[in-house]
């Protein structure tokens, strides 16, 4: 009988994104059943210790040259072969650009239902897994059940806690026996676009600016606060549309959906589409000169005032606190 969870993870040169460990910890918590980690690419073996540390009972490495460059159809076919070997009850994928591309393809091939971007996966009273996922970008939450024999979940980053288990994962050798020349869609190049910028969906603190910042060069004021806090930068949609900041900053229903511990909304009015994308934040801090701005209704803390005076003062206070700590 199918049992256990297959956690499908991407890695680069042995480095696994934190969401990989979050998924393993979650899978381990949902025992009984073996937790198997599957990872691809050059250097995959180097992730063995860290995968075991966070909850993998066994690991499958597809590190041959066929898997050095991502192919949605090739990798999906390979995952299906591993599923045949491991026979898991469920599969986890990260709800990242990589996982969201691969998970539905695998689900389709397996004839398994997929719940995307889950914030919760739990064991139900009937022994099966169930999940909670945001819909309407977080304006509501759906508790879902998947009725197919095997189930696929993609897991939103930055929600699940990680727990170290210190196990030594066994290596399971599975060769999907695929011929890479049959892979159709192939990645031929990767362009790094942001350099040092922290990824918004994984950020613990976000400083986000809106039209209240008034001009592209004024984002320096926010950058200074972000650097004092060790935060990532984000924005409302109009300022990204204007080209004041890169498109990748855009947060909201039609941009990124974020779930940091603290979200600073600076010069952002709090339109419903923006609020949708930040509702998963633990704390929302609003800085706005208009006391009636809707953002204050969504916030935990707020300052009514001119951002050009408040933000530099706040950056200074944060530096004081960090110095004393």
């Amino acid at each position: 009988m199918a049992s256990g969870i297959l956690v499908v993870i991407n890695q680069e040169g042995g480095r696994v994104r934190r969401v990989g460990f979050e998924m393993l910890s979650l899978a381990q918590k949902l025992a009984p059943g073996q937790v198997t980690a599957l990872t691809f690419g050059d250097g995959a073996e180097q992730s063995k210790d860290s995968l075991g540390q966070y909850g993998a009972d066994q690991v499958v490495f597809l590190s041959g040259s066929a898997y050095h460059h991502y192919s949605s159809d090739g990798f999906a076919d390979a995952v299906v072969k591993v599923v045949e070997g491991v026979d898991p009850e469920s599969l986890f994928f990260p709800a990242t650009a990589w996982g969201k591309d691969l998970a539905p393809r695998v689900a389709g091939l397996l004839g398994a239902g997929l719940a995307s971007d889950c914030t919760e996966v739990y064991r139900r009273d009937d022994g099966r897994l169930g999940a909670v996922r945001p819909i309407y970008a977080g304006k509501a939450f759906a508790r879902v059940a998947i009725d197919s024999p095997r189930q696929v979940y993609s897991i939103r980053p930055n929600i699940q806690p990680v727990a170290e288990t210190q196990r030594a994962a066994a290596v399971l050798a599975i060769d999907p026996g695929l011929d890479a020349s049959q892979f159709q869609a192939r990645v031929v190049a990767v362009k790094e676009s942001q350099g040092e910028q922290l990824e918004l969906t994984e950020a613990d603190i976000i400083v986000s600016g809106g039209r209240g910042v008034k001009a592209p060069e004024n984002f320096k004021v926010l950058e200074d606060l972000a650097s004092a806090l060790g935060a990532a930068m984000g924005s409302s949609r109009p300022v990204a549309d204007e080209g004041w900041v890169p498109h990748s900053y855009h947060i909201g229903q039609t941009g990124k959906v974020v779930s940091p511990t603290v979200y600073f909304a600076v010069g952002i009015s709090g339109a419903i589409q923006h609020l949708a994308g930040i509702s998963g934040s633990k704390y929302i801090v609003a800085i706005n000169s208009d006391p009636d701005a809707p953002i204050f209704k969504a916030a935990n803390y707020g300052i009514v005032g001119d951002l050009f005076k408040v933000v530099p003062a706040l950056a200074e206070e944060v530096r004081h606190i960090k110095q004393d700590a």
Binding site: S72, A97, P104, R133, I135, A137, R186, A298, A313
Partner: protein
């Protein structure tokens, strides 16, 4: 070149979500329905491809009768004709994909374009599922698309976290459109008039012979928990900033 574009009708993004206790679907009375924002990028890209390479753009949409409004709008943007898979049933992504793929198969295609995600259920699945149903390669979350009609090769840029990647693949294929791919056009008045006369073929879901049992079933909907009333600070900026920093440090313990 024959291009199919998948268009879903969704509640306007300004919609405030309301629930009746016990319901597994949102209250829909008074909702303004629109084309899924990402599908507008998909439609625009198809129109541009047609303008370059010639051929036809066919809209495929699945949903109840109200969906015709979204279809007419897509036609007003410039699509040639449409197929409306009609159903009032509660379905999931797999059912939608099976049905849309069946229609696509009967229709024939060189390229299928969808939005990267429908902003109601946020599943981001249908494009890839249609690709699997039809045995096609895919590239999702596309921000730049180059189609070489001669060699039938596609080169696309797709968005990653803090990076992007270039994917090459053969035609036919499924492409899912992300914001940034293009700037969708507004329908002009003459085109709105023309759209009224364009063909919209209605096909009942049940006539397609696909399994319509959903696998992913919503058991309960809830609204996000209310945040406690905010602590709002006013007064001198320096004082307010100092107090905020103290609250974040000592009360919330987050900095």
């Amino acid at each position: 070149m024959k291009i199919l574009v998948l268009v879903k009708q969704v509640p306007d993004t300004a919609t405030k979500i309301r629930l009746n206790p016990g319901d597994t679907a949102i209250q829909t009375d008074g909702i303004k329905w629109v084309i899924n924002p990402y599908d507008e990028f998909a439609i625009e890209e198809c129109l541009r491809l047609k303008e370059k390479a010639g051929g036809e753009v066919v809209v495929l949409s699945l949903g109840p009768s109200r969906v015709e409004e979204a279809i007419r709008q897509a036609l007003a943007m410039g699509a040639d004709r449409a197929i409306h898979v009609m159903t009032d049933a509660v379905i999931d992504s797999q059912v939608a994909a099976r049905a849309l793929a069946k229609v696509a198969q009967e229709e024939g295609y060189d390229l299928i374009v969808t939005g990267k995600q429908a902003v109601d259920d946020d599943q981001a699945q249908v494009g890839a599922l249609v690709a699997v149903e039809l045995g096609l390669p895919q590239v999702t979350v596309v921000i730049e698309l180059n189609v070489d009609v001669e060699s039938r090769r596609i080169r696309a840029e797709r968005e990653l976290e803090g990076a992007s990647e270039i994917v090459e693949l053969p035609m036919p294929a499924v492409i899912t459109a992300q914001r940034g791919l293009n700037e969708p056009r507004y329908p002009t008045l003459p085109n709105i008039m023309k759209a009224k006369k364009k063909e919209v073929k209605s096909v009942p879901l049940d006539s397609l012979g696909v399994d319509t049992t959903p696998w992913v079933r919503v058991e309960e909907l809830t609204l996000p928990p209310e945040r406690p009333a905010a602590k709002i600070l006013t007064g001198e900026p320096e004082e307010a900033a100092k107090e905020l920093a103290r609250l974040l440090h000592e009360e919330a313990k987050v900095i």
